[in-house]
Symmetry: C2
Subunit: 412 residues, 2 copies
């Protein structure tokens, strides 16, 4: 069993075949959730699943589970998957790799006639990207109870069409109650979407956790005035005060390595005129770290800095937390299964804490879960130039195979 | 002669009467250059001038000169004035005060039967504000040769109408060649448009000079990336680098008081998304100071800081100078005349270097010029809530009267 390997060429061919649906001129993929293209992508994956002998179940939010029966059908299945939908300017690998790696595991087991104790399942979750409908990670979110089926159904795209209408229209409105589908353990393979593995020259990222994140809107209000006649000492320059906070956001993250992240991504200046001292500046703050204690510390340091700045500058500064996801440690059983499989297969490896969101985060709220990362070129994702090496994708799939077999058990 | 004073009530009434033309609901004035409202404003001022016995000349760019003859008509006239047009959300005093203060000087001389050696003139210049047509300070700019009559004529508003068409339409296309109108000295009274006099509790600002200004566009280019998966050490965060420069712009100005000014008024962040590290930031830089040496030093320090930041950060940083007005010292004869009149009249006073543009800047390129500032409420201008105290406007007009008489000479 230790010599068992998946077929990297077959995996690559499936990836390229799926990527042809919604292919863009720049080499990417545009396959937005619940569009006709998403239906075509889903149909292709389901056809491949059926051809591999899998039994297909669809739940009421359109999540699809494709089952390879185990020797003991009463055991909860060992599930792997990800998503088929993409960003508007998405790539070939984000999500799609996780689904097709699962399919490749099944094909490998089939051609070797390997029977597992627990069933094996390949899943894909509805609307992970959130580009067309919010909330993001919709299918897994409903599955774990993060929000209700009704909330998801009512979401509308820009043309006013609802998730419920579109699920029905493309034929993926299933019967099963979301969350009622039993899962013994969940694994998800994914491109890293960051530069860490490539920078370190490693092939497999063992993912012990997903970072928590805290999002804020900050507003600094000064007094707009003519840039010429107003002496420096009589100004209430909202931008000058705001940039001090923006720099501190980065410094806070630098104080809590290696997983601290601090980003100001969005800035609006009012009135945004060359010769007017800014009267108001609004900007976003994004803080992340790997555990609650560190993220709380960063949160407190940011608030303390804002309070000190408010006092020193005399300007009004408001900070509002607009979003919070707690750090999500993955289950030791799953993390260890990934680590053991990686070591057994001899791939170079390191731990990589995920900084991005994945369906596995929601899955982890209700079932033991883990993730496997492989490098992507220059750390770029959500971009048509997203790229990954076939050898790395093959390695990640081999790790998935052995981790799943370890959890499912092999019938001797 | 030392006891001679203008009539503050009459001045105030004229200001309010003119402000009724184009009055806005919020108490301001909207009287854009060469509109029907501008014609009505011009017509009213010209009617008042004729009623005061003044002889009216209009030049080819619509500048209007209204002459009160002197004992010696061969002497160059002592001229005062400003502009009648306003910002779209303008106030009652910007420009209008300078014109009506001149008219009030004439009315005062008339009622006391005072004859001057040199002629006295009241002028108003076309399209000072530049809100409808650019370039700004158009009439005085053509007068001093900063740009050509053809350039001014060809300027179009948003509806495509040209300055030439509109001058003709409203009846202010004159015959005199701009710049050929003789001027012995030019004075302009104006609200300060800044907070300095009010903050210091002074009534009259003697204006030794107008600041020079240097405008730049700065672009910092990094690499956009996911805010979560990208560790701090692997980022090329364009905003973090840009904010360092933005803070330095203010520090540079702080190092060269009291007239150093450093402002970042306009910022654009790309892609300006909450969870994406900014890949590019564009922003404006506005540096000002009172003389060439100081402004050059600030310019060099800014470039040196950018060069050091470029080297330290490794990011591409471009700085382009997009506009430059040299500092404009006013003529000692005119500045001294204003200072002497202020002291004679006993008003509290200080020197205030103008940070904003005025027709007097262009006039000063070709004739001895000077300015008189009075406080405006909270330093606010270019705003419908622009306000000034009648007593301050009266004081400024008295200073104008005595400064003009000093330059024109009084027939005993």
């Amino acid at each position: 069993m230790n010599e068992l390997r998946i077929n990297g060429d077959r995996l690559w061919k499936s990836l390229m075949d799926l990527a042809a649906i919604g292919a863009t001129e720049k080499g990417g993929v545009k396959r937005l959730a619940l569009t006709d293209l998403d239906r075509q992508g889903r149909d292709l994956v389901v056809r491949w699943g059926r051809e591999a002998g899998l039994e297909v179940t669809v739940d009421q939010i359109g999540n699809v589970f494709m089952r390879r029966e185990g020797r003991n059908p009463s055991l909860f299945p060992i599930v792997t998957g990800s998503h088929v939908d993409t960003q508007p300017t998405g790539g070939k690998f984000d999500g799609n790799y996780g689904v097709l790696a699962g399919l490749e595991v099944v094909r490998t087991l089939n051609e070797r006639n390997i029977q597992t104790e627990a069933p094996i399942e390949v899943a894909f979750w509805t609307n992970e990207e959130g580009s067309r409908f919010v909330p993001v990670m919709m299918g897994s979110g409903v599955f774990c109870g993060a929000f209700s089926l009704e909330t998801a159904y009512a979401a509308r795209d820009l043309e006013g069409r609802t998730v419920l209408e579109e699920l029905e229209r493309i034929g993926y409105l299933g019967d099963q109650v979301p969350g009622k589908h039993p899962i013994g353990a969940y694994f998800e393979t994914h491109i890293e979407q960051g530069p860490v593995l490539e920078d370190a020259g490693k092939v497999i990222g063992v993912v012990p956790a997903v970072m928590g994140l805290s999002w804020y809107d900050c507003t600094v209000t000064g007094m707009e005035a003519h840039a010429g006649p107003t002496p420096m000492g009589l100004r209430c320059d909202a931008l000058q005060v705001a940039t001090g906070i923006m720099q501190e956001v980065v410094q806070i993250a630098n104080r809590y390595p290696p997983y601290g992240r601090g980003t100001v991504g969005m800035v609006q200046v009012f009135p945004n005129s060359r010769n007017v001292i800014p009267g108001q500046v609004k900007f976003s703050i994004d803080l992340r770290n790997v555990n609650d204690a560190l993220l709380d510390t960063m949160h407190e340091e940011m608030l303390a800095f804002v309070a000190a700045t408010r006092k020193e500058s005399g300007l009004a500064i408001e900070v509002e937390r607009v979003s919070y996801y707690p750090p999500c440690p993955f289950h030791p059983d799953c993390v260890n299964a990934v680590r053991a499989a990686t070591e057994k297969l001899g791939y170079s490896t390191m731990d990589v804490v995920s900084g991005a969101g994945h369906d596995a985060i929601y899955a982890a709220r209700v079932v033991p879960s883990g993730m496997i990362f492989v490098p992507c070129k220059d750390g770029i994702s959500h971009n048509e130039i997203e790229d990954a090496q076939p050898a790395h994708l093959e390695a990640g799939c081999n790790v998935l195979l052995h981790a799943m077999l370890e959890r499912a058990g092999v019938v001797a």
